[in-house]
Structure formats: structure tokens, C-alpha cells
């Protein structure tokens, strides 16, 4: 019986391990996920990208993935296992996999690696990211138009540059419409905890917030917003199902085209180290349909989206001040990517003290 239990436990542990058809002559493209592929947010978006890749190049490649891989030492083992099993290209899809990916990439020079949202590269290690903040800017403008109280709520996860960038971009967008607009931020200190995210949403709504946005992974805040009759934005995936009358739009990560492009490069023998940071214009980031808003707001959002795509509008363009009142960008000047990727300060107007 002890053996049976052990077998059961092992089964549970490897349930996440699944492989598609295994023809030996096909190139193997592998993915490491931090969450479950049905999380309704971040990881699901990556898995949809993988499925798209399979659909496009399925006759030449096969894919494999590991889900629910914790960040830390376990990640190293998982990535190494994939590298040993004959993967030609491995995508590691969470910021926290950075050091593990760097380490295994050095160990397997013949395997190509791509790490999402990180900043360390190597001869066989590329990075890729998406300019999520472009979508946040549009959300900010919509929020400023929709909100009656002039204050939006932002459920944040961890104070890393990626998240701070989003908060700043949202407020800059909102203030381009209403210079008095306010933003309240609650740090949940988690990516994934439906209950806590819902509590954070309640805390914000109880204090006068009437538009809600989030940088956490579950649809719980959207549900609370629906229950309380306010509007909200979805994150990473289209969350319209959780709030058919509530979602204004959502930032939808669309990794498929990138995965196809890079896999094709590998097949053609043209893969090289790049640091890709594409945005709305490249289609790596799309906006879910603009819903539950008046036509003029929708028109504004669409116009802004077009301007960002054409390059006419860059969200981080001066005149902008930092939260402490010091000058950051002069009128007309745009921020360089380096500052954005290391962003550790708020712009003027955020009603919160940034955790350091």
C-alpha cells in the first residue's frame, strides 16, 4: 500500500508533464511555465502561443512543456531536464527563471534558450518582452473618461520595474485626459491568490475607487468589480467571461507570432541572440475589444492605439516629473528603454509610497 501511495504521489507530481507526438526527426521546442496552463492569465497566454506555433509549424517541429515550475532551484532542474531530453529551443516564461536559465544555457551551448521579461543574455540565450505599458496608457485614458470620482484603483503584485512601469504609464495616460486624476495602489505581494486579490479589490472600492485595474493573474478582482457594479480592466488574457458587463478592455499577451518567428529562425539556421521588446504595433500585445463604454471613449481609445502603433505617441514623453517633484523628462523628450527596464520610481501624482 505504501508503494501505491508513492505511485499516486508521483503521478500527481508528473501530471503537469506532457509531451506531444514524438517523432525523432522533428525539432523539439520546449516551454517552461510558472503557473498552470489554464490560469486564465499569464501562463495561459504563453500556452496559446505554443499552440499557435504547433499549428503553424507542426509538420517540422513538436512542442513540449512543463507547467507549475516553481521559481528557484527547481526551475534549474526542470530546464536542465528539458535541455538533456533533446530540446533545440527552450522558452522560459517567467522573470524568476532568469538565473536558472543563464546557468543551464552556459552548460548546454548547443541548445538555444529564450527568457521572457529578463535582461541577461548569452551567446545561446536571447530575451523577449512585450511593451505592456502601451496598453496601460490606453487603459489610463479610458479610466479617466469613465470614472465619476476621478480615482482609479491598481492592484499590484511585486515592486519590480515591470509593474512600476505599468502603474506610471496608467497614470500618465489618465492625466493626459484629466490632470487631476488620482490613482490608489494596493500591493498584494502575490501573483496568484484569488482571495487576497478580491480583498484588495474590496479595499479599493470601499474607499471610493470606481475603476479597477490589476497586475495580478486571476479574475477575482474582475468578479468583485462586477458584483459592486464598477468597471475594470483585464490582465494578460481577455477576462470578459468573468465580467461581461464590467470589462472595459484587457491587455492580451499574444506570444504566438514571436514563437513562430524564432522557431522559423532556428529551423533556417539563422537564430541569433536578440533582446526583443515589441509592442502593440508588432502584434505581440493586443487590446481586447473595447466594451461597456460610451462611443466617444471608445473612439479615443482606438485613436490612441493607432497613434502608439504608428509611433506618433510614446507614453513616457515629457514634460514629466517624478513623484518627489524633481524633473524627469523635459517637454517632448522620451524616456530611453534602459530607464524603463530599471524603473524604480513613481511619476508625480501616484497616491502611494513605492516599496523599495
Amino acid at each position: 500500500m505504501k508503494k501505491l501511495l508513492l505511485a499516486l504521489a508521483t503521478t500527481a507530481a508528473v501530471i503537469g508533464f506532457s509531451a506531444a507526438a514524438s517523432a525523432a526527426d522533428k525539432a523539439k521546442i520546449c516551454f517552461v511555465y510558472v503557473g498552470s496552463k489554464t490560469d486564465g492569465g499569464w501562463t495561459q497566454a504563453h500556452d496559446l502561443g505554443r499552440q499557435e506555433l504547433e499549428k503553424a509549424l507542426g509538420d517540422k517541429i513538436e512542442t513540449q512543456f512543463l507547467e507549475n515550475v516553481p521559481e528557484g532551484p527547481d526551475a534549474e532542474r526542470a530546464i536542465e531536464r528539458l535541455a538533456r531530453s533533446g530540446c533545440g529551443l527552450i522558452f522560459t516564461t517567467s522573470f524568476g527563471f532568469m538565473d536558472a536559465t543563464v546557468k543551464i544555457a552556459a552548460k548546454f551551448p548547443d541548445v538555444k534558450f529564450e527568457h521572457a521579461t529578463g535582461y541577461k543574455t548569452g551567446p545561446n540565450l536571447a530575451t523577449y518582452n512585450s511593451r505592456f505599458y502601451e496598453g496601460r496608457y490606453i487603459q489610463g485614458q479610458i479610466a479617466a473618461k469613465i470614472s465619476k470620482n476621478g480615482v482609479a484603483g491598481y492592484i499590484a503584485s511585486f515592486p519590480i520595474p515591470e509593474v512600476v512601469m505599468g502603474i506610471n504609464s496608467f497614470l500618465i495616460g489618465a492625466r493626459s485626459v484629466n490632470p487631476e486624476f488620482k490613482l490608489k495602489v494596493v500591493w498584494a505581494n502575490t501573483w496568484f491568490d484569488p482571495g487576497k486579490e478580491a480583498d484588495a479589490a474590496k479595499a479599493l472600492i470601499d474607499q471610493g475607487v470606481d475603476v479597477l485595474t490589476q497586475h495580478t493573474d486571476t479574475t477575482a478582482p474582475m468578479q468583485v468589480a462586477a458584483e459592486r457594479g464598477i468597471k475594470a480592466f483585464g490582465q494578460a488574457s481577455d477576462m470578459i467571461k468573468a465580467g461581461p458587463e464590467t470589462q472595459l478592455t484587457a491587455i492580451v499577451d499574444t506570444w504566438g507570432p514571436y514563437y513562430i518567428k524564432r522557431t522559423q529562425a532556428l529551423l533556417d539556421g539563422k537564430w541569433e541572440t536578440t533582446s526583443s521588446w515589441d509592442g502593440l504595433k508588432d502584434g505581440i500585445l493586443t487590446m481586447a475589444p473595447y466594451t461597456n463604454m460610451p462611443d466617444d471613449v471608445k473612439a479615443l481609445a482606438e485613436a490612441t492605439e493607432a497613434k502608439i502603433k504608428s509611433g506618433e505617441l510614446k507614453p513616457f514623453t515629457g514634460p514629466l516629473k517624478k513623484q518627489d517633484g524633481s524633473e524627469w523628462l523635459a517637454a517632448g523628450a522620451s524616456s530611453d528603454d534602459g530607464t524603463l527596464l530599471g524603473m524604480n520610481f513613481y511619476v508625480e501624482g501616484v497616491d502611494d509610497k513605492l516599496p523599495q
Partner: protein, 306 residues
Amino acid sequence: MGIFEAILLTVITAATPLVLAAIGELVTERSGVLNLGVEGMMVMGAACAFIATQQTGSPYVGILAGIASGALFSLLFGFLTLTLVTNQVATGLALTILGLGVSGMIGEAYVGQSGIKLPQIVFPVLSDIPFLGAILFRQDLIFYLSIALVAGVHWFLFRSRAGLKLRAVGDSHSSAHALGVNVIRTRYLAVMFGGACAGLAGAQLSLVYTPQWAENMSAGRGWIALALVVFASWRPWRIVAGGYLFGAVSISQLYAQAFGIGIPSQFLSALPYLATIVVLILISHNRRTTLINTPAALGKSFVPDR
């Protein structure tokens, strides 16, 4: 609705699953069995409650499914530890891993669906009392059950004959056995009660707290419930005090952040745990009462010498 009232309502929702899972585990531990599988039973309860609700359209069927799945799942633990005498700690941990895996598998088709929220039961007249009415008499069934269960467990453990026997089993299984108490049967029932309560706590998560199913949605609450039992030094009403204290501190830090009081959020997030440590120090100050309340045979396996 005042802000204080709003905070209290949020606290009640956050504390109820902790109180439920902890009161069940308290009974299990009082019988001398340490079941570390609370997290697994809870998440199974959440999944089964949600699935049953979506299938039948009735959250009350969901509640029953949550309770039943928790109890059945704990039966597996009972069979392994009580009948086959496996190590309780290892088996409990395995139960948690298994629960997280199985619930993720059976719930996969239900991810992203919006569930049906358990309706409130409004007591006429009482609910019109200013302030208290909205907080105490406009809640859902599971909240009322949580309070009733604590009262019931208190009465059972300290006022009933069966409760006395259960505590005897937990303190010295050999003596209880010698007196003719059926140790294994008592422990089976206690384990299943713990499982049923954890399943009900899971149902609260997927039917009240956030009416949806997401893999791993218990997010560590089972472990907090386990800690609460120690925190409460195995006394039922202290579970309520501990659960609501923990809930109050963790919720008010979110409200404080939204208010913008300018205290670093990492410190605020650590507050519930700091508060727990402070209370534990205060409680352990009196070693004798702690010893009296701790089940002496906790975690020890029993093999009848027939």
C-alpha cells in the same frame, strides 16, 4: 455603509474558511491524529463544490459536494495512517500534494467560468439593527455554520460523554483502549470530521469568497488553519479569536494601503505574521495550561495489542 462596517464584512469573508478548516483539524488533533493534508482537502472541497454548483445550478448542492469530497478524501488519509499505520506527517503531506494535483485535473474544464454566489440569508427584524444587523444577520449559510460548528465542537468536547472519550483517545490511546474505547473508530470519525470541515472551507472559497475555480486557489490557507490550531492551544473559541485576528490584520493592511498612509507595504504584509508571533509568545507564557491542552498522543500511531 461606513468604512468600518465595510472592513468588517471583508474580514468575515476572509476569516470564515480559516475558522472552518481549523475547527475541523482541532477535532482531528484532539483525537491524537495530526493531518497535514488540510490544504489538499480544502482545495478538493473547493473544486468539487464549484463543479457540483455549475452542474446543478444550486450552490447548496455545491456545499454538500464540498463537505462530502473533503470527508471522502480524508478517509484515504484515515485508511493509510490508522489501518495501515503509515507515518502521519508524510501521509498528510502526500495528501496535500495529491489534492492539489487531482483538483487541478478535475477542475480544468471549469477554469475561467463565473460561478454562482451563495445567497445571503437575511434574518427579518434582526437584520435591521443598525451596524450589527448587516454584519451578523445578513450573511450566507456557511458563515452561520462556522459559528454553529465552533459552539457545537466546544459543547461536544467539554460537555458530552463522547467528547470526553475522544479527548481520552488523544491523550493516551493505550489507556482509552484498555477502558474499552474503540480508538481506531474514534480516530476515523475525527479524521472524517476534519475532512468535512476542510471541504466546507473549500466550498466557502469557491462559492462565497471568490465564486470561481482556479487551480491551487486555497493559496496556503490550509497551512494557516493548521497553525491556528496550535495558536488556539486546541481550544475551540480561541480558533475564532485567532482566525478573526489574523483576518483583521491582513485585511486592514490592504485598506491602509488603499488609504495611502505611507507605510511600506512589505511591512504591512508581514503584520499578520508578526501579530501571530506576539500572541504565541503571550500564550506560551503560561506553560502549564498549554501542556494541559495539548493532546499528549498527537501524531502517535496506535496498534491495538490483540
